[in-house]
Structures are given as structure tokens and as C-alpha cells.
């Protein structure tokens, strides 16, 4: 039986760890709320942008703009959006595995650009070349950062360096479920125009200022920015949600460990008392004899 002092030390150490995981859970919960508010306030802008683009592009030809033209895919680029910090369960590893599977499928030659330290470490370790690493995106995430990433990606596409550009990020399905997804960014897949339901007025005929094609040329780069920023916001919220549930599990596991160690401790203490009593009783009886 382990000695009492040793067990007491272990219980104290697990207690210490539990305090840390509980605090991390609370911090993640607060950050999640903030990230969700951030995503919520962006939703209006992104919804309006999609609606306007759908309106302008409703009868545009596929080759109306260089960001719309489809090419036979020979080279593809994936922008992997991971996190800067760990301790968030399978958040980064699931995403990295999805991207690695895509790389190994060998359908087309695929390069990577990376946001977040975690994916950078993973792919560098596996000797995968990283085209561009965007540093410190999540410290103080704002629209301008997304805009400059989007502008770079759009340029790569327009120059013909890549025929397809994808985003790989964790989608937040709910607080307890984050799903790694791979979506096409370029060429731009035009949003569907809202269906006119029975009883509603048909959508009005707009005066376009300047012309429809010039508007389209102004809208498309903005739309790519919106897509990149949405993915970044979504990933940031998903990261905090993942960390929250990972830390919740860790706190519960620590509690289970403390409970079972306490049981062992009590048993050891009881047996020490019993053996001490036996000694006393034995001693007393020896004197009586």
C-alpha cells in the first residue's frame, strides 16, 4: 500500500491541475461569447453582400469576371485555418488530418497556405512546403486582416498560379460539435438568388450605377473578403468552443481521479489506524500476561 504522505501529495497535485483546467474553461467560455457576438455582428454585412451579389450576378455570364472563370484544375491551393494555441481537444488534429488526406489523394498538385501556429507546426514537421504563413491573425482579429489575405489569394487566382483555391477550417455546428470542412473559395461560386415565394412581390428591377459588369467587378473581391473573414470568425469561435469542452472533460476527469485517490487514501489511513490499535492491544495483553 502506497504511503499516506505520497497519496496526499498526489491528491493535492490533481487538485492543482483541476483548478487550472476549470479556470481555462471559464476563460474559454467568456472568449466564446465574445467571438460569437463578433460573428453575429458580421452576419448582417455578409448576408447583405450575398444578396446584392446574387442580384447583380443573376444573369451574368460565367466569364464575366476573372474570379468567376473556371479552369481545368492542375494546381490547387488550400488555406488552412488552424489555431495558435493548443489544449483544445481534436480541434487542430482533425483539421490537419482532413487536409493531409486531401494532399495525399493526389488528384491535383496542391499547395498550402496556413493561418495559425498549430497547422504550421504539423505540416512543417511532415516536410510539406508552406506557401505563405500568415502570422498573428487571431491576435485582435479584424476585417482588414481578412481583406489583405483575400486580396493575395485573389491575385494568385487571377495570375493563374492556381486553378482552385480552397478554405479548410473548423465549422462550428454547435458548442459541443466542431466539424473540419473544406470549401471552395475560388473560382467564386455565386450565391443563389432568393426565391420569390407565392404572394410576395417579384424582386424589383434595379437601376445599376455604374453598369452591371462594373458593379460585379467591384463586388466579387469584396465577396471573397467576406468569405475569408467569415471562415476566420467561425474558426475562432469553434476554437474557444472546443477548448471549453476539452477543459470541461479535463475538469471532470480530475474530479474522478481525486475521488478514487481519496478512497485509496481513506483505506490506507484506516488500515494504519487498525494496525496501530492492534499493536496497542497486543502490547497491553502482553503486559497482562
Amino acid at each position: 500500500m502506497a504511503n499516506l504522505k505520497e497519496i496526499r501529495r498526489r491528491i493535492a497535485s490533481v487538485h492543482g491541475t483541476q483548478k487550472i483546467t476549470r479556470a481555462m474553461k471559464m476563460v474559454a467560455a467568456a472568449k466564446l461569447r465574445k467571438a460569437q457576438e463578433h460573428a453575429e455582428s458580421f452576419r448582417d454585412y455578409s448576408r447583405l453582400m450575398s444578396e446584392v451579389l446574387a442580384e447583380v450576378a443573376s444573369d451574368a455570364e460565367e466569364d464575366a469576371h476573372s474570379l468567376l472563370i473556371r479552369r481545368e484544375p492542375e494546381k490547387a491551393l488550400v488555406l488552412v485555418i488552424s489555431s495558435d494555441r493548443g489544449l483544445c481537444g481534436g480541434f487542430n488534429s482533425n483539421l490537419n488530418r482532413l487536409v493531409a488526406a486531401e494532399l495525399n489523394s493526389g488528384r491535383v498538385h496542391t499547395d498550402l497556405s496556413v493561418v495559425g501556429r498549430k497547422a504550421k507546426g504539423y505540416f512543417e514537421h511532415r516536410m510539406v512546403k508552406i506557401q505563405t504563413y500568415y502570422d498573428e491573425v487571431f491576435d485582435d482579429l479584424d476585417y482588414d486582416k481578412a481583406a489583405s489575405i483575400a486580396a493575395e489569394l485573389a491575385k494568385l487566382y487571377e495570375n493563374g498560379d492556381y486553378d482552385m483555391i480552397y478554405l479548410a477550417y473548423n465549422e462550428m455546428v454547435s458548442v459541443v460539435s466542431q466539424v473540419p470542412t473544406l470549401v471552395q473559395l475560388l473560382p467564386v461560386a455565386l450565391p443563389e438568388k432568393k426565391k420569390v415565394e407565392a404572394g410576395e412581390l417579384a424582386s424589383p428591377v434595379f437601376i445599376f450605377e455604374p453598369s452591371e459588369s462594373e458593379l460585379l467587378a467591384a463586388l466579387l473581391p469584396r465577396y471573397v473578403e467576406v468569405k475569408v473573414f467569415s471562415a476566420l470568425l467561425e474558426s475562432a469561435a469553434a476554437e474557444h468552443a472546443a477548448r471549453m469542452s476539452a477543459m470541461e472533460t479535463a475538469t471532470n476527469n480530475a474530479q474522478d481521479m481525486i475521488d478514487s485517490l481519496t478512497l485509496v487514501y481513506n483505506r490506507a489511513r484506516q488500515s494504519a489506524i487498525t494496525s496501530e490499535l492492534m499493536d496497542i492491544v497486543g502490547g497491553a495483553e502482553a503486559l497482562n500476561d
Binding site: 458580421f42 481583406a147 424582386s203 424589383p204 437601376i207
Partner: protein, 137 residues
């Protein structure tokens, strides 16, 4: 009478900035300044950085907007722009803005012709200039 008013919403990536009923809106598109009154025909315009003015009860409200889009239909106007600031708050920090503009211009003149940072800086400079112009009018 709500029939004679327009519901204006100005939305930026960090959330809605203006949400109110107004009687007229004036702003500048690529083709020049235009004004929208109630019952205007639906318009979809691309905005250039500059002034956005709307009137309510004869009181004008002036804002500076960055590049963006203007959509109006059935007395609803949506303005999507990257930044939108009221004239008062620009005037409150006009010195900081002037300083920022100076340092951006300096940085810009030091850049190589094909530097990728060029477009971002250029956009920043135009936006600052638009704000200062609105404040001085």
C-alpha cells in the same frame, strides 16, 4: 407618416452603425453624387469613399463612408461599407487622423512598385482623406 420615410440601415463588418427612418439620403457613387427620396426607383450602386448625408425632420446627419454598396428598394435602403464614422467623431480626433495620414503617405512613398502592401495602404489613405474631407466641409 411612415409612407413618406425611408428605412436606412448602414452596415459594416463590425455591425450596424445606423438604423433609422429618414426623409432623404445623399451620397456619392462612382458616377457622382446622388440623392434618394421616398418612392425612388430601386438602385444598386457602388459607393466611393466620401460623404453620406441623411435628413430627418430637416436635421441633416453627416457621416463619412468607405468604399461600399448602396441598395435601395421599396423605401428600404441598405448601405454596406467597410467603415462608417459620424462627422462629429471625426472632428473630435482630427489631429490623430492627420498624423496617421502623414505616416501612411510616408510609408506608401517608400514602397516598391509591385509591393503587395500597396493596395492595402492605398485604400487606407483614400479612406483617411475621405474622412478629413467630410470633416472640413
Amino acid at each position: 407618416m411612415s409612407d413618406d420615410l425611408i428605412k436606412l440601415r448602414v452596415v459594416t463588418p463590425s455591425g450596424p452603425v445606423v438604423e433609422q427612418m429618414v426623409s432623404s439620403i445623399t451620397t456619392s457613387s462612382e458616377l457622382g453624387e446622388f440623392c434618394v427620396l421616398p418612392e425612388h426607383r430601386p438602385v444598386l450602386a457602388s459607393l466611393k469613399p466620401g460623404r453620406l448625408m441623411f435628413e430627418m425632420d430637416g436635421e441633416p446627419n453627416v457621416y463619412a463612408v468607405d468604399i461600399g454598396f448602396f441598395e435601395s428598394s421599396a423605401n428600404h435602403v441598405n448601405v454596406m461599407t467597410q467603415h462608417c464614422v459620424s462627422k462629429e467623431s471625426i472632428q473630435a480626433e482630427i489631429e490623430d487622423l492627420e498624423k496617421e495620414l502623414g505616416s501612411l503617405q510616408e510609408e506608401f512613398s517608400g514602397l516598391e512598385d509591385d509591393s503587395p502592401a500597396r493596395t492595402t495602404l492605398e485604400a487606407g489613405i483614400t479612406w483617411l482623406q475621405a474622412q478629413l474631407e467630410v470633416a472640413q466641409k
